[in-house]
Symmetry: C2
Subunit: 148 residues, 2 copies
Amino acid sequence: MLSQKAKYALKAMIALATQEEGDLMQAADIAERQNVPRKFLELILLDLRKHGLVRSQRGKLGGYALAKPADTITFGQIIRIMDGPLAPIPCASLTGYRRCADCRDEKACAVRKTMREVRDAAAAILDGMTLADATGTEAAALKAAIGA
Amino acid sequence: MLSQKAKYALKAMIALATQEEGDLMQAADIAERQNVPRKFLELILLDLRKHGLVRSQRGKLGGYALAKPADTITFGQIIRIMDGPLAPIPCASLTGYRRCADCRDEKACAVRKTMREVRDAAAAILDGMTLADATGTEAAALKAAIGA
DNA sequence: TTAAACACTACTAATTTGATGGACAAGATA
DNA sequence: TATCTTGTCCATCAAATTAGTAGTGTTTAA
């Protein structure tokens, strides 16, 4: 399951990705636009800053911006920061491998093999989806809704 | 994340799938073979029985068996019983849909769209993997290990 | 009739999740 | 320089979930 934290992080990053290069968006602004508790969002943004995905400016007229181009930041990166590995089970993870305490023969384990497949499929989607892709599809959906 | 409960359930079901038609396997036996706490396993098996995936016999010489052929029971069925929907987020679930409280425009939401893709990919793998497949790959891996 | 097995209920300790509150620091502007 | 606004950081917290454990009851074969 994706935590609320990760969902809020994705939504906040998508909001930041709609900004012009050089602009700043304030936490309160993001919180209101995305319907997210402001203080909780600040925690999330802080975490994202520490991991180098956003930059921030303090003081009056301060705010947040993406630290890198929107087409170089993926859903996978954001989710791993907030929730940890994508794999459904640690023994099937690439980034956070841990052996199952109860496992007798990891090589033969069909559960592990299958969960590795699931991980790979999820990673292919999430590591392939950039913030630029996301803002693109949202803009297109909105435009279609207006057209209809 | 797959819970321990779901992992234990999968392992127990795979163990049951290795049995001859008509045989029974006792909870204590499964628990020992799969390295799972016995009482916890009994709860899991009870749950699986209530959902019609295993049948049980009480009394001396009692035990458990699959209630249906091994090639008609999938990982997806078992995981949904133990952990609920496969989707990473309720608004992307087919079997357990729930709207996000904070969502302004569900149609346009890129997070939801992407999580639906992840759900579909996971479902394709997990609903396609039967207990018969699982015992098959485990047996093959074991045979290969002995040959090497 | 008794021993061995599943069935069921209840409880609990630890962890995770989803926050909230407040003090502090930095920076723009009057 | 004063001050107001905004991000930073720390501490705390309540509710839910997870991962079990314990014990009693019920069924059945021998």
